[in-house]
């Protein structure tokens, strides 16, 4: 029997604002428990929420990046339920008017572009963090009131692979927008997958199983695979799929039942009377658009058009810092040459010296890569000078001048090679007859003549070009 899987994904991402969503307390991961707490986060009687506009701006950028329509007139709503981690007995969220709706992202599945539709993205406040120790539960209010965005897809995802690609895509976008740390292990990104299956010939979807608490993107894939098999088995043995909530147990590699949803939760949503309606003006939206960085997909397109190799694009785009640095010097350099330098020498030395790309003086770096693309310096020299730059060398121009004076220019090198070839007619003949061993001989002569003041790669390249002309 053939089955089809349908997956919808909900992502919660914490926004990296300075303060909390509705209070002035700091939004800071890793503080001592209950350090970043205000009377508002505690939900003390008489307290009122205040809106953090930084969070709204960040959410707006995320909504725009996900190609969403924007609710220019939006409100907050209360979602009412009792739970130990919920200080007020309700969560302030957006039910009626999510900041963004009807959006999409594109993923590449086996070389084809697939659209994953986004149903909505809304803003809400996080709850306390519960810590269980034996029979006791401790509450950490540092997390209470941290701004979250929730991104909900339409049931467009067909399998684990698409789910992983989708999650990676969202993660990358939020990272580039600089609106979230999106670290699953720290809880700043949380994923839930709603998995249902049906027999291929059936029109109606099966009951939805919600899988929560998934600790990594790859585990989302594993959880979906497990659910597919579990549900298929149930259907084949004539049993029914129950609407339920499960969690993914990493050690078991299985989803485990948390609770069966007997009745639908009634959250009694209603507009938050403590906050008035928020109007997002066109100029607001335009400003957000202007402030948005080039996003990874656009960046990939741009780099491809400019002739940068696929592998180098992948390496550069994988790091927001690296690609950001690259874009900042983009107009001042030979981009293909620079992409090669960034993905080789630069990454190697940054790693070795435990430094960040943004610590490197841009002006000096531009001079360095330009000296290299003008063939004024060899790649070995580039690397040596880059290390100096990394260690704070201010006068990179002088360094280049000193080194360069010893180097042969491209034209001089060409003349020299021609002379050497002409003086070794027999070797040339051997080359013509297909004996490539003479290349080494030529190179030896070149290096000897130039006393090493030449880039061997460059010399080799020129030699080959000249030989092929003559041959």
């Amino acid at each position: 029997m053939m089955f089809e899987t349908i997956v919808g994904i909900e992502i919660h991402a914490e926004l990296k604002t300075k303060n909390k969503m509705f209070s002035p307390a700091l939004n800071e991961f890793g503080s001592a428990p209950n350090k970043n707490v205000s009377v508002i986060d505690l939900g003390l009687p008489g307290t009122l929420p205040k809106i953090n506009y930084e969070a709204i701006e960040m959410a707006l950028k995320a909504a725009l990046a996900l190609n969403c329509k924007i609710n220019k007139k939006m409100q907050f709503d209360r979602k009412n339920y009792f739970y130990p981690d919920l200080p007020k007995g309700y969560q302030i969220t957006q039910n009626e008017t999510p900041i963004g709706y009807d959006g999409f992202v594109e993923i590449e599945v086996d070389g084809e572009t697939k659209k994953i539709n986004i149903e909505r993205i809304h803003i809400e406040e996080d709850t306390c963090k519960s810590l269980h120790e034996g029979d006791e539960t401790y509450l950490d209010y540092n997390r209470a009131g941290v701004p979250l965005i929730e991104i909900v897809t339409k049931p467009d995802i067909k399998n684990d692979k698409e789910a992983i690609l989708y999650l990676e895509k969202i993660r990358e976008i939020l990272l580039y927008l600089d609106v979230s740390d999106v670290k699953i292990e720290e809880g700043s990104m949380r994923c839930e997958a709603n998995v249902s299956i049906k027999k291929k010939e059936d029109l109606k979807l099966g009951n939805k199983v919600e899988v929560k608490n998934i600790g990594s993107i790859s585990n989302v894939g594993k959880a979906i695979l497990f659910e597919e098999k579990r549900q298929e088995k149930l259907i084949l043995s004539g049993e029914e799929i129950v609407t339920e909530t499960r969690r993914y147990d990493e050690k078991l590699g299985e989803t485990v039942l948390m609770r069966i949803k007997e009745t639908k939760n009634d959250y009694r949503y209603f507009p938050e009377p403590d906050l008035s309606i928020i109007m997002l003006s066109d100029s607001h939206i335009e400003k957000a658009k202007k402030e948005m960085p080039l996003l990874p997909d656009e960046m990939r397109k741009k780099f491809t058009l400019d002739g940068i190799s696929e592998i180098n694009i992948k390496t550069i785009v994988a790091s927001r810092e690296l690609s950001g640095y690259f874009l900042e010097i983009y107009e001042q350099v030979d981009v293909i040459e620079t992409s090669k330098i960034l993905t080789s020498v630069v990454l190697k030395q940054l790693n070795k010296n435990r430094k960040e790309i943004n610590e490197i003086d841009k002006e000096g770096f531009v001079k360095l890569v330009n000296a290299r693309s003008d063939k004024k310096i060899s790649s070995d020299q580039l690397e040596a000078m880059f290390v100096k730059l990394l260690n704070g060398e201010k006068n990179i121009e002088e360094q280049i001048e000193n080194e360069k004076s010893d180097m042969l220019t491209s034209q001089d090198l060409e003349k020299l090679i021609i002379t050497i070839i002409e003086q070794n007619q027999d070797s040339l003949d051997k080359y013509k007859s297909g004996d490539e061993r003479v290349l080494k001989h030529f190179m030896g002569l070149i290096m000897k003549e130039t006393k090493g003041k030449v880039d061997p790669k460059e010399a080799n390249k020129q030699l080959l070009e000249l030989l092929s002309k003559l041959a």
Partner: protein
């Protein structure tokens, strides 16, 4: 000197300035009166701290009208280090760690908070009888209700125990007890007084308001507590009200809704209200009867909107961090159930259940969303009246004060707020002032105006007060 607190504010101020009295004298007088009172107007007296404060003030210059003046607050206004119970077992021992915005404002004026007043539990009730700490009595006649929910605040002022009090008004909780006790109470324009620190009942309706002996002093106290606050997102960013030039410079166009003198209104009330209208006409103002059809939906509107909001606002009282909690319980659900079952009184539970019901997904469209539409219609009607009229006048209450302990059906409890609710729904300012008595029972008149026109209300009320000589 005796009975200083019974003097006019300006007179007390003069005595303080001339150093004939000290703030401590006022606190002492309050203490004596409060302790000998049998009206049950207070839940907590703040004597020790108040005396300490009064002595601190002795070294300071008397720089404003309210310097050293004692005031009492309804016990749902948060006071740092001073119990704030909402007249509930739930918060019997709750001590806030922060001050309400209005408290900060009074402290800036060096006013002295001398006590927290009795009220209906969580402001739910119109007689003061739902208080966990027992009913407050009407000083006119101790067998009568004082009205509510700001019962103790109105009573303390009416009985001359203290000249100033703050209450809160969600459906009439300042104006209605003011009317029953014969004092002046204002429900300001929604957003004009910060709600930060006021323990919420119906967030879209709640306003803190001053209760005083006369209109002018009411305006002065309103000046102290009003103003934009960054702590309250529903706060109105408008020019601050100042109690000056409170004089009418023209005759007013006055609207009286027919509904407010109709079959629902008790003869006791009309016997004072209608002659007052005649006097107002004689004063030269134009009085017209108008139709405002949506007024008749006031009570169902209130039952849906206020109680829906209340069911959510009171959800935070789970006993986990503060408030009543059980010693023995099986699990979290049991803990919360026990905290709330024992901590809340019957009226509060009833209202939360109604609120929960009207918000449930099955009912939200038929009740809550419908009510929002009706609320908008009613507001539109009132706004269109204010296009042609300066003020709307009506009796403050459909009846005068009635005996304590009267058995009423649960839904009859809302009837006392019939005429006050509309202005909470629309957000318009509205003042209740005494206009005379029926027998011994005070009768109040309600004066309402367009948004932020408290000055017009006060100017009219001062003129009328003079005319009536009350």
């Amino acid at each position: 000197m005796k009975n200083i607190l019974n003097l006019k504010l300006t007179e007390i101020n003069e005595l303080l300035k001339e150093k004939k009295i000290k703030p401590i004298d006022l606190v002492n007088e309050f203490e004596e009166k409060a302790l000998s009172s049998s009206l049950n107007a207070f839940i907590t007296l703040n004597i020790e701290a108040a005396k300490k404060r009064a002595i601190e003030l002795e070294g300071k210059e008397v720089d404003n009208l309210f310097f050293g003046i004692p005031i009492v607050l309804k016990d749902n206004i948060s006071t740092k280090n001073l119990k704030t119970t909402c007249a509930s077992k739930m918060l019997e021992d709750y001590i806030p760690i922060f001050d309400a915005n209005v408290v900060e404002k009074m402290e800036q004026k060096n006013m002295i908070i001398v006590g927290k007043t009795n009220m209906d539990e969580f402001a739910m009730g119109g007689t003061g009888e739902t208080s966990y700490f027992g009913a407050t009595k009407n000083p006119i006649d101790e067998t009568l209700v004082p009205g509510g929910s700001s019962s103790g605040s109105a009573v303390a002022v009416a009985a001359g125990i203290v000249p100033f009090a703050l209450g809160s008004d969600t459906g009439g909780s300042v104006r209605q007890p003011a009317a029953f006790c014969g004092v002046v109470g204002l429900k300001p324009t929604y957003g004009r007084v910060s709600r930060f620190g006021l323990i919420a009942f119906g967030s879209s309706l709640d306003q803190i308001g001053p209760i005083t002996r006369d209109v002018t002093e009411n305006a002065h106290l309103f000046e102290v507590i009003n103003g934009f606050s960054k702590d309250d997102y529903t706060s109105a960013d408008v020019e601050k009200f100042e109690a000056k030039d409170l004089k009418l410079n023209k005759k007013l166009k006055v609207a009286v809704p027919k509904f407010c003198v109709g079959e629902n209104i008790n003869d006791e009330v009309l016997s004072v209200f209608l002659p007052t209208l005649e006097k107002i006409k004689k004063m030269g103002h134009q009085v017209d009867y108008v139709e405002i059809p949506f007024l008749k939906y006031s009570i169902p509107l209130y039952q849906v909107i206020a109680l829906a909001e209340a069911s959510s606002n009171l959800a935070r009282f789970d006993g986990l961090k503060y408030g009543y909690s059980p010693n023995q319980y099986d699990n979290f659900d049991d803990f919360v159930t026990k905290s709330r079952s024992v901590g809340f009184g019957a009226e509060v539970k009833r209202r939360m259940m109604v609120g929960t019901y009207v918000l449930s997904s099955e009912n939200v469209d038929i009740y809550y969303k419908k009510a929002l539409q009706v609320r908008q219609e009613l507001t539109n009607e009132l706004n269109s009246v204010y296009k042609n009229y300066d003020i709307i006048l009506s009796p403050a209450t459909p009846t005068a004060a009635f005996p304590l302990g009267e058995k009423r059906k649960p839904n009859e409890a809302f009837f006392d707020d019939l005429l006050t609710i509309p202005f909470n729904m629309s957000g318009h300012p509205s003042l209740s002032m005494p206009i005379g008595k029926c027998g011994i029972k005070p009768i109040g008149m309600q004066v309402s105006s367009n948004y932020f026109e408290e000055k017009k209300i006060y100017s009219f009320a001062i003129e009328l007060e003079k005319e009536l000589g009350v």
